[in-house]
């Protein structure tokens, strides 16, 4: 028993590790990227430049990174969890002061000529930090009120900062991911029920505390029909495009709605509409099926792991990819308000691609080393 609880991956060679990488998940990712590629090719009016070619290069770079991360022993990543979280939090905070504005909110940071969204990195950092925390805490103290404070603070800090940007979409994603990890870690169900009740009670009070202009902004945000020429217009166009796709679609490169420039942000947040118009309901089902396969596969992978860190990193990644996909598709099909969330691996964008690659790399790493236990205490202090 003691023998296979040894730390580090010393008993596995790199080759053995590569054999243990969940290649099926890798293939599913590659298929989703191919769909993104086809859509970006079509958005550019039948051209690999400028988007499709860069998309594929980004994925290849991400895939390489993923495999490198997967074979490095887990202890290394466990040690990085807190520093990464702190850096990400500082960057998210820095956006408020030195960020560049895009579409009314400050979300982008420019460092040495590279522009990226720190809030994307933050999601990953949050998963890591929470997983590390519960690894350290051990199962017996998980539901103790005192040990609830740290994880709640870990979630609340980045959520608060992204709300100030203001970026409600990311704030929701971070909250959902964080709460899901707490749930998976085994926090008692009564906390979640109590929390939900508390939010329901506090909401009217918070509403009355808001300035009238803030309320108006929230109202338009929650109900874009009050602003039919703005966000409502986009959703109407998006729905028409989806409908015009029908069962079998209008055919590759023949989506009229999207090709005729009716769609907003069609290479980023609205790329699903573009794809669904050209490939129809059947295409939509295939894409959603691939995402379902990927996220469920991650949950199965998590359930095969022994240590809380591995379980929570893998399941957290699964939740993250699920919530991205769900909000994006629900948004373009008019189920939820437009909040600016990309479709993982399909939407054009470097930061989003990198985040997914890093998260998948860490999950694969956790899975590759699944048979091994982990130490609870690591030398890095919060």
């Amino acid at each position: 028993m003691r023998a296979h609880l040894q730390i580090a991956g010393g008993d596995l060679t790199i080759g053995q590790k590569l054999l243990r990488v969940p290649w099926l998940a890798f293939v599913v990712m590659a298929l989703i990227v191919c769909i993104g590629l086809a859509s970006l090719y079509s958005v550019a009016g039948g051209s690999f430049s400028p988007w499709a070619e860069r998309h594929v290069v980004r994925f290849l770079a991400g895939a390489g990174l993923m495999l490198v991360i997967a074979v490095i022993p887990r202890g290394f990543w466990l040690g990085l969890a807190n520093p990464v979280y702190l850096i990400a939090l500082v960057l998210v905070g820095a956006v408020l002061f030195i960020g560049t504005e895009g579409g009314g909110a400050k979300r982008w940071l420019s460092l040495g000529g590279v522009t990226f969204q720190p809030s994307e990195v933050m999601k990953l950092a949050l998963i890591l930090a929470l997983a590390r925390y519960y690894q350290w805490l051990g199962p017996e103290r998980v539901s103790h009120p005192l040990w609830m404070i740290a994880p709640i603070l870990l979630i609340a800090a980045p959520v608060g900062l992204t709300l100030m940007q203001p970026d409600l979409g990311t704030a929701i994603l971070l909250s959902v991911i964080g709460l899901a990890i707490m749930f998976l870690a085994g926090v008692h169900l009564l906390y979640f029920l109590g929390g939900a009740a508390g939010v329901a009670l506090a909401a009217p009070y918070a509403w009355s505390m808001l300035h009238p202009y803030q309320r108006k902004r929230l109202e338009v945000f929650l109900n874009p029909d009050t602003d039919p020429l703005g966000a409502g217009y986009h959703i109407a166009q998006s729905k028409i495009a989806l409908g015009s796709g029908g069962l079998t679609g209008r055919g590759f490169m023949n989506g009229t709605q999207s090709q005729l420039d009716f769609l907003p942000e069609k290479r980023t947040d609205f790329i699903f509409t573009m794809f669904a118009e050209e490939w129809g309901f059947i295409g939509s089902l295939v894409l959603i099926g691939l995402f379902a396969a990927l996220t469920l596969m991650l949950l199965v992978m998590a359930s095969r792991c022994a240590s809380p860190f591995s379980r929570l990193v893998i399941a957290g990644t699964g939740v993250m990819i699920f919530i991205y996909t769900f909000i994006n598709v629900a948004m373009v099909s008019g189920l939820v308000p437009v909040v600016g969330v990309p479709l993982p691996l399909v939407s054009y964008g470097g930061t989003s691609m990198m985040t997914i690659a890093l998260a998948m790399g860490l999950s694969m790493c956790a899975y590759v080393h699944r048979g091994q236990g982990m130490p609870r205490r690591i030398g890095v202090v919060v």
Binding site: M1, L5, S42, G45, G46, S47, G103, G104, G138, P139, E140, A180, F183, L184, G186, D227, L229, G230, A231, Y233, L242, G243, S244, G245, G246, L247, M253, N254, T256, Q259, L260, F262, A276, F281, S284, L285, I288, F291, A292, L296, L299, A302, S303, A306, P308, F309, R311, A315, G318, V319, F322, F326, V329, A330, S333, L335, M374, P375, R376, R377
Partner: protein
């Protein structure tokens, strides 16, 4: 210590929870699938089989931009309409055959054909391609007549902005550029890929009026994507025309006069109407050049050119008004009753306040001064004492009543609003309290006080007329002012200040003698200003200073025949003495202005709709 990863209870709880999350995800994907099924399959069938084949195409049509005329009705900015023949490959079917048929109507060169075929291969078949960029009205009619034989071919109007401004009006008219950022509530027209918006001058200031209202057309297309019929159509509404109040001849003379200095700016106002007759700065720049694509090197050359020609110093240059501000302090004091025009203040050459000495420009002192002499000879000590009695708030209030420290809805953008300081402003800006000494400096238009030449011209026009003159560069006016209201300043007080302004130019000892005109019918009123840029020790002669540290030379003045006619303000950057440099400049500007007398002719009335000269008629004939 190792984690209890082998704890069976813990493992089972995790499996339960992962299972719940998995169920939630399956439910989530199920919801998405159901929603897409509803949108893509159920709603699709609602329209029956026809809906499968028929659909509507909605296109936004850009409006034509309003024209800009000069004062005399000559067009300086026009939108030239151009007809383009377009083809949509997916509608055309056999593209080669369609091009052959177009060729029979209007010959196509080999190059044109090759370009269309290449474009068709390289992009989506639903995107229209320009076949001929500029076709005649007659060709449009021919193409439309043969429309049935030309599937996928349509004609459209493209508008292109053309400027005939020249260097005199370029910066005032401004230029256009692409839309940089969209807002949610934007006009849908702004989302058209070819649209441009005003970036400077009148083009920017009147963007909404000039742009007009976009139209749209909704067409039903059949399964083969040919247009079946037009369902709904709204024509775009052309943007409103405007005329400049600027008189090109006066403007040209003004710029010529200003070009005698390294950097200078000047403004001529029609006192009766508030019309800006001329407004310019040297170095000048024809901003309409920026509308056309420009190489990086050329742009750098323009941006880094000597004297920042991109900045219009007349409306954006901020200068301490110096002694030209003294009329404001005087009127504030008279109105508040802290002095009468007969009260005398002794000027020993300085005023002491705390440990600081505030000097008069005349080191020897003016001796006893009343209001008249203090303005005529620009005694600083008199105004230090008056400012001390008044306090900063009453000075600031009067300055604002005379149009300082504010921007105007004059039809161009950007216009700087300058600065009239008060304790609230200082607390907000620096977090510090207001000092008494700063009131003294503000009283002679120094310290924090900043104004543009345009504001100084407005101030002068209000001093001349006693009315609330607001400047405009365009007709119809943007601010909707029809008649300037009285300023409600005591007539006697205003007359005393005006009399002193006349003495500046016309009496012995006046600092502005150089502004005098040898014309019996015209009388010039004015005030010099020499505003300090850097504090200099008295040992160095002002003339030996490096150029950038020399004083700004200012002069404000107005000319009266039977009534006040024109107000003029001029600033020569680092020009030295206002009396020696700016006063003769304003004299020359006034002489030119009066000789041309543009205000005697009304501004071109755009609502009359006649096109006087320039431009091109709709649908050019060959």
């Amino acid at each position: 210590m190792f984690g209890a990863s082998d704890n069976e209870e813990d493992r089972r709880r995790f499996l339960r929870r992962v299972g719940l999350i998995g169920l939630a995800q399956v439910a989530g994907f199920g919801v998405l699938g159901a929603r897409l099924y509803q949108l893509q399959v159920v709603d699709q069938r609602q329209y029956g089989e026809l809906a499968e084949a028929n659909r509507t195409m909605r296109q936004v049509i850009a409006p034509l931009r309003g024209r800009i005329f000069d004062r005399n009705g000559r067009i300086v900015a026009d939108t030239v309409e151009r007809f383009q023949a377009m083809v949509t490959p997916s509608l055309a079917g056999d593209l080669e055959a369609v091009l052959d048929r177009i060729h029979a109507i209007r010959p196509l060169s080999q190059d044109e054909r090759r370009r269309v075929m290449e474009a068709a291969r390289g992009q989506s078949a639903n995107t229209s391609i320009v076949v001929i960029d500029d076709i005649t009205w007659r060709e449009v009619a021919a193409l439309n007549f043969h429309a049935l034989r030309l599937p996928g071919v349509h004609t459209q109007i493209a508008g292109e902005r053309r400027y005939q401004t020249g260097p005199e009006l370029g910066r005032i008219v401004g230029y256009m550029g692409r839309v940089e950022r969209f807002a949610l509530d934007d006009d849908p027209v702004l989302r058209l890929p070819t649209i441009k918006v005003g970036r400077l001058g009148v083009e920017r200031g009147l963007e909404k009026q000039l742009r007009g209202q976009g139209g749209f057309v909704a067409r039903e297309v059949d399964a083969r994507r040919r247009i079946v019929r037009t369902l709904e159509q709204a024509d775009p509404q052309r943007g409103r025309d405007v005329a400049l109040t600027i008189d090109p001849a006066t403007q040209k003379r003004l710029l010529a006069r200003l070009s005698g200095h390294r950097r200078a700016a000047g403004v001529v106002l029609d006192i009766a109407t508030g019309d800006v007759i001329a407004l310019g700065a040297h170095p000048a720049f024809d901003a309409s050049r920026l509308s056309a694509p420009m190489s990086e090197a050329d742009w750098r050359k323009v941006r880094e050119a000597q004297g920042d020609p991109l900045i219009d110093r007349a409306s954006q240059g901020l200068y301490p008004p110096g002694s030209t501000f003294k009329m404001i302090t005087a009127l504030a004091a008279l109105e508040a009753g802290v002095i009468t025009r007969f009260d005398q203040i002794h000027c020993p050459g300085y005023v002491a306040m705390g440990r600081r000495r505030f000097r008069c420009w005349n080191r020897g002192g003016h001796g006893p001064c009343d209001l008249h002499r203090a303005i005529r000879e620009s005694c600083d000590v008199y105004f230090y004492e008056v400012a001390r009695k008044l306090g900063i708030r009453r000075i600031a209030d009067m300055a604002r009543r005379f149009g300082l420290g504010q921007s105007y809805d004059a039809g161009i953008e950007p216009i700087k609003s300058g600065l009239i300081p008060d304790p609230e402003w200082k607390r907000g800006r620096f977090g510090k309290e207001w000092y008494g000494g700063e009131t003294l400096l503000a009283g002679i238009g120094q310290g924090y006080v900043l104004s543009t030449p345009l504001q100084l011209a407005v101030m002068t026009a209000r001093l001349a007329s006693g009315r609330d003159i607001l400047p405009t560069l365009v007709r119809p006016r943007v601010d909707g002012v029809t008649q300037a209201k009285a300023l409600k300043i005591n007539k006697g007080h205003l007359a005393a200040v005006q009399k002193a302004m006349s003495a500046v130019v016309n009496e012995g000892g006046g600092t502005g003698k150089e502004a005098r005109l040898n014309d019996q019918r015209l009388q010039i009123y004015g005030k010099t200003g020499t505003s300090q840029v850097a504090r200099i020790s008295s040992s160095v002669g002002r003339d030996q200073l490096p150029w950038r540290l020399r004083d700004h030379a200012l002069f404000v003045g107005y000319v009266v025949d039977s009534a006040p006619r024109y107000a003029v303000a001029a600033v020569v950057e680092h020009g030295g003495s206002g009396g020696k440099v700016a006063a003769p400049l304003v004299r020359d500007i006034i002489a030119d202005t009066v000789a041309i007398d543009a205000a005697a002719r009304p501004v071109f009335d755009v609502s009359a709709g006649q096109r006087v000269a320039g431009g091109r008629a709709r649908g050019r004939q060959r």
